[in-house]
């Protein structure tokens, strides 16, 4: 059975429809709710979803309620358009930016051994997964690319360390 605080948290998280940070939740709950209380309430809330169709996850931007992965086939029937599949070129470029960021396009090309189609960069940028984070000093001052928080959120990741551990565990040790 949920406490009143947990019910409020649930309603707020569901109404938000986007990740909410702990700080934001504390702010919304008001002064009586401190970090420890919030933490405990969230843990209980997460546990209460064990038998339900959704779950509480923590991603880079905060806490989010999401439908469980195993129900994706039914949820997919809700919308006629199928989710985008990305080519190897797109995925490799994205993985490389995530891995070596901040990185220039030339550096991406050096690792992949092929030139990077500008469409790939545009696709990733429009998706909100990569962004220009600066410029490399030197001739031409090329753009430096990095991944966004949205990228972490969309791939169910909490942080870049989390990403490293799951996606390039071999190289994580070197860094």
């Amino acid at each position: 059975m949920l406490t009143p605080l947990q019910q409020i948290l649930e309603a707020v998280l569901l109404a938000a429809g986007e990740p909410l940070s702990r700080a934001r939740l504390e702010e919304i709950m008001g002064e009586e709710v401190d970090a420890t209380t919030l933490d405990e309430a969230l843990r209980g809330l997460a546990a209460s979803y064990a038998e339900r169709g959704f779950e509480l996850v923590e991603v880079a931007s905060g806490l989010r309620l999401q439908a469980r992965e195993r129900f994706a086939p039914w949820i997919a029937r809700l919308s006629p358009e199928r989710p985008a599949r990305y080519s190897r070129a797109v995925l490799e470029t994205l993985a490389l930016i995530a891995w070596k960021q901040p990185v220039t396009r030339a550096e991406i090309e050096a690792v992949r051994g092929v030139s990077v189609n500008p469409n790939i960069m545009r696709t990733l940028q429009e998706r909100g997964w990569i962004t220009v984070v600066g410029k490399r000093e030197g001739p031409g001052r090329p753009d430096l690319w990095g991944t966004t928080r949205q990228f972490l959120d969309d791939f169910n990741l909490q942080s870049l360390e989390d990403l490293a551990a799951r996606v390039f565990p071999e190289s994580a040790k070197e860094r």
């Binding site: 569901l14 439908a67 994706a72 599949r85 080519s87 995925l91 993985a95 051994g113 092929v114």
Partner: protein
């Protein structure tokens, strides 16, 4: 961008209805399949890795002559088909040829010298790094992804007035602020006097606002319907304002008192 070898690993290419389960050993490839096959490689490193893996060769000890031979076979085929070959494939071909020729040179006895390392080493490093990248891309694609595997959920929100909400202040908060500020100013003595005074002061503001729009007859400001107390309060307020020089009183043509805003002394 449509062929996704990572997701469809079970065949190399599709030609019409026929699936090519592996590359023909003799390197003969049906002409219309070649473009498809080439597209399924993400460049020369990918092709090279494929050739090495295909034959269970050790990436750390690549038989460079053989691999070069096979690689060139593909390149020649593609050139023969007049496919527009990405320059990257030719650059790799040149590099392989260079490594091969350096391998043929007798190695000097002093091998510790950095410049005399195995000519294949740079290639091995790039292949290894690319291999890591390939795996990373696959792992990334396998992560549960929003809108493909997991779906952020939301519920309808009860009707909430979305107009710009202003901070709410309770009367208690205001009273608290008033007490604090009065205590600080040591103005709390003589409660009664203060209580009377606040009515007078309130009335002063109201009178000022009324006369700001134009002169008003005194009798209109002292309204009997407010009761004796109201009239007294108004009168005290008028006196206060006169004393402070905020208003002036004149007689009009009919001899009635007219209250107006004090005009600037010239």
């Amino acid at each position: 961008m449509t062929i996704d070898a990572a997701v469809q690993p079970e065949y190399v290419a599709r030609v019409g209805e026929q699936l090519l389960l592996e590359f023909p050993q003799d390197l003969y490839i049906p002409p219309d399949a070649l473009a498809v096959i080439l597209e399924s490689f993400e460049g020369p490193l990918d092709l090279l890795l494929y050739l090495i893996r295909k034959q269970n060769l050790d990436i750390l000890d690549i038989p460079i002559a053989e691999v070069t031979h096979q690689y060139m076979g593909y390149i020649e085929l593609m050139q023969g088909m007049q496919l527009e070959l990405a320059a990257d494939y030719l650059v790799m071909a040149a590099w392989l040829a260079e490594i091969k020729s350096r391998m043929l040179l007798p190695r000097p006895p002093q091998t510790e010298d950095e410049n005399d390392e195995d000519p294949r080493l740079a290639l091995v490093r790039r292949l290894q790094e690319y291999e890591l990248l390939r795996q990373a891309a696959e792992r990334l694609d396998a992560l549960p992804r929003v809108d493909r595997d997991v779906f952020p959920i939301s519920v309808q929100v009860p009707v909430i007035e979305r107009r710009q909400e202003l901070p709410k202040v309770t009367l208690d908060e205001l009273l608290e602020a008033l007490r604090t500020v009065l205590q600080r100013a040591a103005l709390v003595e003589h409660h009664h006097i203060q209580r009377e005074a606040i009515s007078v002061r309130e009335r002063m503001s109201l009178i000022l606002l009324r006369v700001a729009e134009g002169a008003v007859r005194l009798l209109d400001l002292l309204r009997p319907d407010e009761g004796r107390r109201g009239v007294v309060v108004s009168f005290l307020a008028l006196l206060e304002l006169l004393k402070g020089g905020q208003i002036e009183v004149e007689r009009d043509e009919e001899g009635l008192f007219l209250v107006g805003v004090k005009t600037e002394a010239c």
